[in-house]
């Protein structure tokens, strides 16, 4: 009986201690961030969205290779000799047309592994997190600014140049072969003579 009473007493005591704690909190101001009206300042380097300064991209595809989930898709076409694409803001010369630069943010896992390898610092995380969509396809971000016509034009040009190169290469190879054949035949002759 005494034990029961003692236990009841501790029960009451602990309940009132707990209620005292909650009462203190009831009178305290709240810690809530009123989101749409107030916003927390994100720390520098917060990882919430990938952004590409396409002007600075040199098409080295290092980010594509570094990505563990393969959510970056880059296609490049080598620029022909008659076009000068200029330089990036970091001073690297640009040699490729970036025909596609797609990042699928619905696949991205925000690991930040594509950012450090970039030599021109053109891909980076920006502190913008409000981009929910009704349609998933809108989460595919296309950074390449070339129009479709331009892409085909550039591709044709590059192909032509490539063909030219290939032809030249072949020719050179043929010449080399001929020379080699010449030499070998000469050598053979020598051998047979010797």
């Amino acid at each position: 009986m005494v034990q029961t009473l003692k236990k009841s007493w501790t029960t009451f005591k602990t309940i009132f201690t707990g209620m005292g704690v909650t009462m203190r909190h009831l009178l305290q101001p709240s810690v809530t961030l009123r989101y749409p009206e107030e916003r927390d300042e994100l720390p520098s380097g917060a990882r919430s969205k990938l952004f590409v300064h396409i002007d600075d991209c040199i098409g080295c595809k290092l980010c594509e290779r570094a990505c563990p989930v393969n959510c970056i898709a880059i296609e490049t076409v080598q620029a022909t000799k008659d076009v000068d694409l200029g330089k990036t803001s970091t001073g690297n010369p640009k040699r490729f047309w970036i025909t596609t630069f797609n990042i699928d943010m619905s696949k991205c896992m925000y690991c930040d592994m594509c950012v450090p390898p970039c030599p021109t610092e053109c891909i980076s995380m920006v502190p913008e997190y409000e981009y929910s969509e009704y349609d998933r396809n809108n989460l595919l971000f296309q950074f390449s600014e070339l129009s479709a016509d331009k892409v085909t034009e550039v591709k044709e040009k590059a192909e032509k140049e490539q063909e030219e190169k290939q032809r030249k290469k072949k020719e050179a190879a043929r010449k080399k072969k001929a020379q080699k054949a010449d030499q070998t035949s000469k050598a053979k002759q020598k051998n047979s003579e010797g």
Binding site: T22, P29, S30, V31
Partner: protein, 331 residues
Amino acid sequence: MALLIFATLPLLLIVGYALFAIWLERKVSAHIQDRLGPMRVGGWHGWAQTIADMLKLIQKEDIIPTNASRFLFKSAPFVLFAASYAAFSVIPFSSAYIGSSINIGVFYLLAVTSLLTLSVIMGAWASNNKWSLLGGMRTAAQMVSYEVPTIMSVLSVLVVAGSLNLMTISEMQTGNDILGFLPNWLIFQNPFLIVAFIIFFISIVAESHRVPFDLPESESELVAGFQTEYSGMRWGIFMLAEYADMLLLSLLGAVLFFGGWASPFGSYLSGPVWGFIWFMLKGLLFVFVMMWMRWTLPRYRVDQLMEICWTILIPVSFINFVLIALWEMTF
């Protein structure tokens, strides 16, 4: 016609109160937890939140599970609500308004509220869901056991008051005579009534299933207890009835121990309208304490709950009853 208006007044009161109380509960819980609670719906501190909730619940699809017992499933919430609504008819809201001033008021009230158990079991069994069934069984056990200490503590008040009519009990508590300044409330008239009040309060917390005794709908164990299969407004009525029940028992506590509509300052600030305000304030105070407890404490297990009832509350209330009777005989 007048009768109809007279009868629907408590309904309006209950609905209005429930909307307010749910909003209050959310605000109180939020501020206890250093949050803000509803802020956006309707402007000032989300006052329209519960109205929106109700409007939404009306729109929701009313699902009746295939294997449910349709009639019982459909009627259970209404039986529950009817029971707690019917009990309001004997509550003296103010000196000028009482639904029915019958001379067995307390008895009637306790009898009618027993229907709550029945309706909960109806809903739980008819849902054909195992979680519901477990919740229903818990409720039945809990409510049946806790009715004993409730009735014992009410009986001890009746010994002091000498009447079963709640209006009469309220009337005899007006005035400020005890020790010259304390109001004539029953709790001050007999020292053992304080113990009776504590028992009564614990029991009503258990009867209206609030933490630490909220086993029937304990979210982390039984998903949503006996309400698991209910959706839409049928569930809304369960909610409404639960809050109505909470108010009913709090008001009963106010009548039996704290003078009902009697003003704490004697004849100052009394009268029918003030009486109503005092009465509701007293009821809401208990409601607030219940909320405060809910957001502080963990919950008991079902066997511990029974143990508290049968090994502590019931023996203590019996002994207390005898002591009160002895006190009344001697003084």
